[in-house]
Symmetry: C2
Subunit: 307 residues, 2 copies
């Protein structure tokens, strides 16, 4: 067991999970703690763009933790989204902006969740509260996480706190938000290099309701038809996952980040949950959801309430 406290975001890490881990590492180091940022999976294209911009390395990969390992979770709390062995780790701190579920500890801890658009927005507030100076590097990391999670403040998850943080961070980072933000988001939508299997796991949230496992995977794009060219192969990959992991419903959401719409492909025994939840019929396993961009706010609750 490592003496260091590990800091990490969720599996299939997105930009918030990676950037917030790095920023939290800095925050805790400033307070004198022995911590190290880690990651639970491959860095995605969007995050790569951020790390390249800053000229820094991604955190090291963490495969599992031993019993009693001290950890700090950012951007998630549900055990099935976390590292192998999390049940017996010593969770000291959680900084998150999701619902709480499938989570428990044996002892008291520091837990800070706020219903804001991005974990980095909470980290920004923590720096402020501590009177801690924010360096250009951390400003860029937090800014990138907020742009990613809120789709440049266009997602319905966006709050006043996110806006305020983003504006302030752009000043510190000396970054033109529209230019940098759109380049970063576009970098994240290049899906050509991924196999269909990788595609459905790029940003997949796996959860459970009443003993029924479900998956909501999401990819961002600037062209939904472009992604749908691979529909047949994507469905094959989804069916394989459904069978291997006993998934009752698998939702693959293709989100057009420029026009703020989402096309979902739904497979599994319980596809009716999507039809009921969105009051719309599936055609050819698909449904078009106008104005939907947020999995957390616009898809997950609908599934969770109807499954």
């Amino acid at each position: 067991m490592d003496e260091k406290i590990y800091i990490f975001g969720h599996k299939a890490p997105d930009t918030d999970s990676i950037c917030s881990s790095l920023v939290m590492e800095k925050f805790e180091q400033n307070l004198g703690l022995n911590v190290e940022a880690k990651r639970l999976g491959k860095v995605n294209k969007e995050t790569e763009y951020v790390l390249n911009y800053l000229g820094i390395e991604a955190p090291a990969l963490l495969e599992k933790v031993e019993e009693g390992q001290k950890v700090i979770l950012v951007d998630h709390n549900e055990f099935d989204q976390s590292v192998e062995g999390i049940e017996n780790a010593n969770i000291e701190t959680v900084i998150d902006h999701h619902r709480i579920a499938n989570f428990q500890t044996k002892t008291p801890l520091y837990y800070r969740a706020e219903p804001v658009g991005c974990t980095s927005t909470i980290l920004y507030k923590k720096f402020k509260e501590e009177g801690m100076q924010i360096e250009k590097k951390e400003a860029t990391l937090m800014l990138s996480a907020i742009v990613s999670d809120t789709l440049l403040l266009k997602s319905p998850t966006t709050t006043e706190d996110d806006k305020k943080a983003l504006t302030e961070l752009a000043k510190i980072a000396e970054i033109d938000l529209n230019e940098y933000g759109i380049e970063m988001l576009k970098a994240g939508t290049n899906l050509d290099d991924f196999s269909e299997e990788e595609l459905i796991n790029l940003d997949a949230k796996r959860s459970e309701k009443n003993g029924k496992k479900f998956v909501i995977a999401q990819v961002n794009t600037v062209s939904i038809p472009d992604v749908l060219k691979r529909k047949e192969k994507i469905e094959t990959a989804m069916r394989k996952d459904i069978e291997a992991n006993d998934i009752k419903v698998f939702i693959f959401a293709i989100t057009d980040i420029l026009n703020s719409n989402t096309q979902i492909i739904v497979l599994g025994e319980e596809t009716a949950v999507a039809e009921k939840g969105f009051a719309k019929n599936l055609e050819d396993n698909m449904m078009f959801l106008e104005g939907v961009v947020s999995r957390k706010k616009q898809i997950l609750p609908v599934i969770d309430q109807n499954l």
Copy 2:
């Protein structure tokens, strides 16, 4: 369903649960929210002393909540310690200093837990962070909660934050901590008016591990032998509760708050969990635990790890 957001602590409320509800009410009202403090059970003698000192009423009793009722939880999170109907309430905020377990939400929320001795210590920090002035009344309420939970800073759950908050609050409240604190604690140890049934429910935390229900009830006293005069009747009440609620192990902890020791009475199918956990044999269903005063830090983890 009430438009107001209800604020309440745990069942069988202690001084922290009542006082923190009232203080949180004030905090949220200062921010312009439509809130009302409630209580989930009878006010205990110690809390009564505090309310009488301030000349204020206890919050109104809340028996259950309807689906979708907006609520703020203080001093607890586990659903089995909360109000009837909590599973379908809309939990907006939690302020707590306990472990997290048997808790979940459908949507993101504001959750603030810190591993400090008392919920009111966190509330004190929230007032400070908001730059909100603390009035004498709220100072007295928070101070009383901290004295109660930390046994005048003698409990091992006490942190530097609790000490700092208590010192500052005593100044605002213009209260001599030793005089007021000891009187308040003594008021809480007068157990004569309670039936044995009431005694085992005065401050009872009900929980579950691996499907096994257990109870850890605690009373404070200045004389353990005084309480043990009623041992036989207390055991009868415990056995009745065990049978009625399918409890696997019931621990009744009698804590000497002046000398910081605890005598526990243990009944149920799984009394071995206490013997194993504390590496000591039960004699006449009892065990003396030197230096033990904190259920949360010194009793609950031992039971939870071994059940």
